[in-house]
């Protein structure tokens, strides 16, 4: 068994795995500092079975097909354990760095379009902080990367044109989890923020699917719902997050960025002008 301790700026998840290549891929893709760990200290244990891999951890047991699906599951499991055990404020949001060096943060429930928007930002050459989870420091008003890879939803099609270079370089692979097929992009691929960088928040907006791509006024409950959903609020009062969202809301009022089907470029145009 090979064991690695993944260190995210003082918080750690230890993984033991009998598939050295799978663990090495997780190590390379997350880009976190790691160190050797013995089996008894593991948070997640991965065992190769005849029909694939079995992952055991605080989330229970997960049996996965082997190869890429197993590697994707391990990356997701590590992210899940970090998110559920952290004392930090981790929010369900994506973010990129704008032209002025400030972070543009977009909150959204699953399938709202966070990954598609992040992929559009990455293709446009903007530095991506994350596509699904972020570490927010409400006191400092800054955002940092969370240990999770960009995952581009694919359906049954080939990898999107903008990601073929990363795929060819070994910085991306296709994996499926519970029927959801994604292109998983390594954080070592160019264009991703490192874990040490803290970016001042410039703008925040919740996103949702819509008939047209537009930034619209929204009742505060509708605007705050995605901001609070999935946030780890154990050590941070929700009101601190709400005040940060208010401070950085477009025009200081509750708003929602609606995204028409697949129009992530249009949504990005709006976000980059906030």
């Amino acid at each position: 068994m090979t064991g690695r301790r993944f260190d995210w700026r003082g918080e750690a998840v230890a993984v033991v795995c009998d598939d050295a290549a799978m663990l090495a891929r997780a190590e390379a893709y997350l880009g976190l500092p790691t160190s050797a760990v013995a089996g008894e200290g593991a948070t997640i244990a991965v065992e190769t079975r005849r029909d694939g891999h079995q992952l055991r951890g605080p989330f229970g047991r997960l049996t996965m097909a082997g190869g890429a699906d197993g590697a994707y599951a391990l990356l997701e499991a590590i992210a899940h354990v970090f998110a559920t055990h952290t004392r930090r404020l981790v929010v369900h949001a994506g973010a990129f760095v704008g032209a002025d060096g400030g972070a543009v943060v977009y909150f959204g429930v699953p399938f709202a379009g966070k990954s598609g928007l992040t992929h559009a930002a990455w293709r446009r050459g903007l530095t991506v902080i994350g596509d699904d989870r972020l570490w927010l420091d409400t006191a400092a008003g800054t955002v940092r990367a969370f240990p999770k890879c960009l995952k581009i939803r694919m359906g049954d099609g080939p990898p999107p044109a903008g990601a073929r270079g990363a795929t060819a370089a070994g910085d991306a692979f296709v994996g499926a989890l519970r029927g959801d097929r994604r292109l998983v992009v390594s954080r070592r691929a160019g264009g991703f923020a490192g874990y040490d960088a803290a970016y001042p928040v410039r703008a925040m907006a919740p996103i949702a699917r819509g008939a047209e791509t537009a930034l619209v006024a929204a009742p505060s409950a509708e605007g705050l719902g995605p901001v609070l959903a999935g946030a780890t609020l154990a050590a941070t009062p929700p009101m601190a997050l709400i005040r940060l969202a208010k401070r950085h809301a477009p025009g200081g009022r509750p708003a929602l960025l609606r995204i028409a089907d697949g129009d992530f470029a249009g949504a990005l145009d709006i976000l980059t002008t906030l």
């Binding site: 009742p219 505060s220 605007g223 609020l233 009062p237 929700p238 709400i242 809301a249 009022r253």
Partner: protein, 96 residues
């Protein structure tokens, strides 16, 4: 007559036209707009449900009084359910 009051330990913030109120003990957050916001603001001192209805009837004389009564009672029920308003004379957990 039953008097209602706000719990003591809350935090609130306006956002747009709404008021976001947090129960500091449970950290539950409620967004109040329209009638619920006015009811909350009217509960700065303990009042009865009848007082609240009378306040609304005086403020909106053109509106059907029965409808205002239903709206006020619904808003009061929402605030009680959220743990933000309790019967006066007890503690903030509703114990007497």
């Amino acid at each position: 007559m039953t008097l209602y009051r706000r719990i003591q330990d809350t935090d609130e913030e306006t956002f747009g036209d709404d008021l976001v109120v947090m129960n500091a003990k449970t950290q539950a957050v409620v967004t109040l707009n329209g009638t619920a916001r006015v009811v909350w603001e009217s509960l700065a001192a303990p009042v009865t449900a009848d007082d609240l209805v009378a306040l609304f009837v005086a403020a909106f004389p053109e509106t059907d009084a029965a409808m205002l009564e239903r709206d006020v009672e619904a808003a009061l029920a929402t605030l009680i359910e959220a743990g933000l308003v309790v019967i006066d004379g007890g503690d903030d957990d509703g114990r007497r």
